[in-house]
Amino acid sequence: MGIEVRGLTKVFEGGRRRARRSVEAVRDISFTVEPGERVAYIGPNGAGKSTSIKILTGILHPTRGEARVLGVVPWEERRRLAGRIGTLFGQRSQLWLELTPRQSFRMLAAIYGLDRARERTRVGELAELLDAGDLFDTPVRSLSLGQRMRCELAACMVHEPEVLFLDEPTIGLDLLAKQRFRELLVRLNAERRTTIFLTSHDVADIEHVARRVIVINHGSVIYDDEVQAMRRSLLATKVVEVGLGHPAEPIAMCGVAVVEHSATAMKLVVDTAPPRSVPSSTPCSKVRRRSTSRWWTRRSSR
């Protein structure tokens, strides 16, 4: 088993004496992740994603419940588990800013107990896999964010982890860098069977990287299904804003609803789900339309 979570709850206690208050950051969460799975663990800010990851990596103790990552209880054997997992926090660097990535890898390899020969081989493999060999000898502080994130990914892969925890890894990256990063994750998973557990606010991260999505809100799991299923049922529409060179009539097309219209712009909601088993001759008015919704507020049917 990759990750096994049963009834996990984390309550933070704050304040003093009479002003004492408790916040339930994670509430009775249960799920399992098989080895080699690519799972997106998502939800709005404050939903409990980062707290869950901190518990699963052993940084935090849960208030109640059980969890095993690679058969290890994380908060009981944090250091032992650390040698088998990789973590990447998009907002926290694990590279030493004043060093080059190669020097950081040397230190990380020593920390994880890799000998010199294994370290050289591993860094060579990562340079090839991430197409980042030319970046490894530039001081980290001189790298662009996109370049640094590729090196961050290499840093958390130096010791060949079996599970990779990624907390908003594409935050701040431009579109191209994001796309490249997603492709790298998929490649890593395909070539190394590395389990990927990803949190992100970017729907494209979820669609491109994950096969399964777990949605949490207010500390509880509210959706757990394949990404394809989520896309069909909950992400069926896209909002498109069109700039107009000159005033035009509202677009009248099957699957397109005009929600705002002015002389210079038009805002459309486009149904991206194919109207399956609907004959081409069927009038547009008879095709069932799905509405845009705040998908994270829906409850899973599981």
Binding site: F12, E13, A25, T51, K54, T57, G58, I59, L60, H61, W75, R78, R79, R80, A82, G83, I85, T87, F89, R92, S93, Q94, E98, L99, Q103, R106, M107, L108, A110, I111, Y112, G113
Partner: protein
């Protein structure tokens, strides 16, 4: 046996500081100015006091200040603040995800950063003290002052971590840094030989670890052959490691329960 990761971390950080010559030059210039001013003041004070102060001659005081300042200037002066910020901001979480003790890794890195600065200050200090004060009062004791300086720096780094760990509870180690700095300056013997302090303060200073961080190497370099000071420093280093380890473990437990 010292773990490979400890040595690799120490060596990598030392190489980095050595490569950044600008930072080293600034540290050495600062050190020379401080030593020139303080040693000059002490020489004047000794001259007006019949040639000695608390048993130290003007030459001995010059070598005392050159050594005590080297032991302190070699360190990252904002270390407590830096450690406190790493804890308070939650950045320490990344360090908790490594399979080695956070404290040991931090000490290795800080020791690696400090040793090149220490070497540069000591090299310069020997020249400055010889030119401004005269030849060392007893050259043989300088051989003991070398390892004593390394122990002083190690004690200081570990003690700063123990102080900075207060940030696990109060989120701001700035006040701890201010207090700590003053303790090293006065009862650590950085500015004043402990023998020159009032009796009660001298007794208090003798009972605390701060004297291992500046006074011990400075006392040796000023011509006093007292090898027991090295033993005392090693013992304090052990005590400080145990204390800092306990405070960090307690802090990590608090982080695990209360959150970052």
């Amino acid at each position: 046996m010292i773990a490979t990761w400890f040595l690799v971390t120490l060596r990598t950080e030392a190489r980095r500081v050595t490569a950044e010559r600008g930072g080293l030059v600034v540290a050495v210039v600062f050190y020379v100015v401080v030593v020139a001013v303080l040693a000059g003041l002490w020489r004047v004070a000794a001259a007006t006091n019949g040639g000695t102060i608390a048993g130290y001659s003007a030459v001995a005081l010059t070598w005392y200040i050159a050594t005590s300042e080297a032991a302190v200037v070699a360190l990252n002066i904002r270390m407590i603040d830096d450690i406190g910020r790493a804890i308070g901001s939650g950045a320490v979480a990344v360090e908790l995800l490594r399979p080695v003790p956070v404290l040991a890794l931090r000490v290795a890195a800080e020791l690696g950063r400090s040793l090149p600065r220490l070497a540069a200050c000591v090299g310069t200090g020997v020249v400055v003290a010889t030119v401004s004060g005269g030849a060392p009062p007893r050259p043989a004791t300088l051989a003991l002052a070398g390892p004593s300086l390394v122990l002083a720096v190690a004690c200081n780094i570990v003690a700063q971590h123990a102080f900075a760990a207060i940030a696990f509870w109060i989120r701001d180690a700035g006040s701890a840094w201010f207090l700590y700095q003053k303790l090293v300056f006065i009862i650590g013997g950085m500015l004043i030989p402990l023998e020159a302090l009032p009796g009660w303060l001298h007794a208090l200073a003798n009972a605390l670890p701060f004297r291992a961080m500046a006074y011990a190497p400075a006392r040796l370099a000023s011509g006093h052959f007292e090898p027991r000071l090295l033993v005392e420093q090693a013992a304090w280093l052990g005590v400080l490691l145990v204390a800092a380890g306990a405070v960090f473990r307690a802090g990590e437990r608090r982080l695990q329960v209360v959150g970052g």
